[in-house]
Symmetry: C2
Subunit: 141 residues, 2 copies
């Protein structure tokens, strides 16, 4: 049934539902922790080495372009990916670089004069600080 959902979202975006693409989507569905491209590639191929690194990157790019997946760039670290399911903001840990979802809420649009000739497609809030794990380690010293 999830299988059908994945198939439908891929085809709805004009992408064939190939085994490799399916595997990427499935992995993201099962791992909400914002994996890196390398982790996705590793995991998907560990069991069944069907996919190459290039394909994983190609597919992630296509999925991002199609709006099914979101990439979050993190300073000095590999980019991280998650499914664009319910809208949400992000929290990035200063110490460990992990990315976590934050509840969605609307953000005020900037004054149109400050937009100038820009076309804004989305806006997205990034919180930074210490994740629960790192905050605790910090406190206990």
């Amino acid at each position: 049934m999830d299988a059908e959902a994945i198939k439908r979202s891929l085809e709805g975006s004009g992408l064939r539902c190939t085994a490799q693409r399916y595997a990427v989507m499935e992995f993201l569905m099962d791992h909400k922790g914002h994996p890196t491209a390398a982790e996705i590639f590793e995991a998907v191929n560990h069991v069944d080495p069907r996919s190459s690194r290039a394909t994983t990157y190609n597919n992630l790019r296509d999925l991002v372009k199609a709006g099914l997946v979101r990439e979050v760039a993190v300073e000095g670290r590999a980019g991280r990916f998650d499914l664009q399911g319910m809208r949400h903001h992000h929290f990035i840990c200063d110490r460990c670089g992990n990315v976590e979802d934050m509840e969605w809420f609307d953000v005020p649009r900037p004054a149109s004069r400050s937009l100038g000739k820009r076309i804004v497609r989305e806006c997205h809030l990034i919180f930074r600080g210490l994740c629960p794990k790192c905050a605790q380690r910090s406190a206990s010293r």
Copy 2:
């Protein structure tokens, strides 16, 4: 006088005002366009090859840690840097990857229950879409 200001901010953050560090700060002051580390290194060394790549990266990292400089990660591209002068948000162009400043405005804090045990240090809004230049090129076809 700007020279003094740079010196004071460096020393106020416990960083020695070395020639290399000074040059990075000065370049960022004169180039508001969010240059990459490679661009900073290139530019600073073009006239006066005093600094190595490693030093540029080291210094940028120290300056970010000290809060004088901000790094903005961009998906699939090199990170970009700017001075942490007046608070501001950012706009990233989908097409060319350029980063622009957006006027600062306060963002509502998330409900504390959704914060959990996280410690939030800052939050920062990232707008995405087409910058003026790319928007125009898009329209004229």
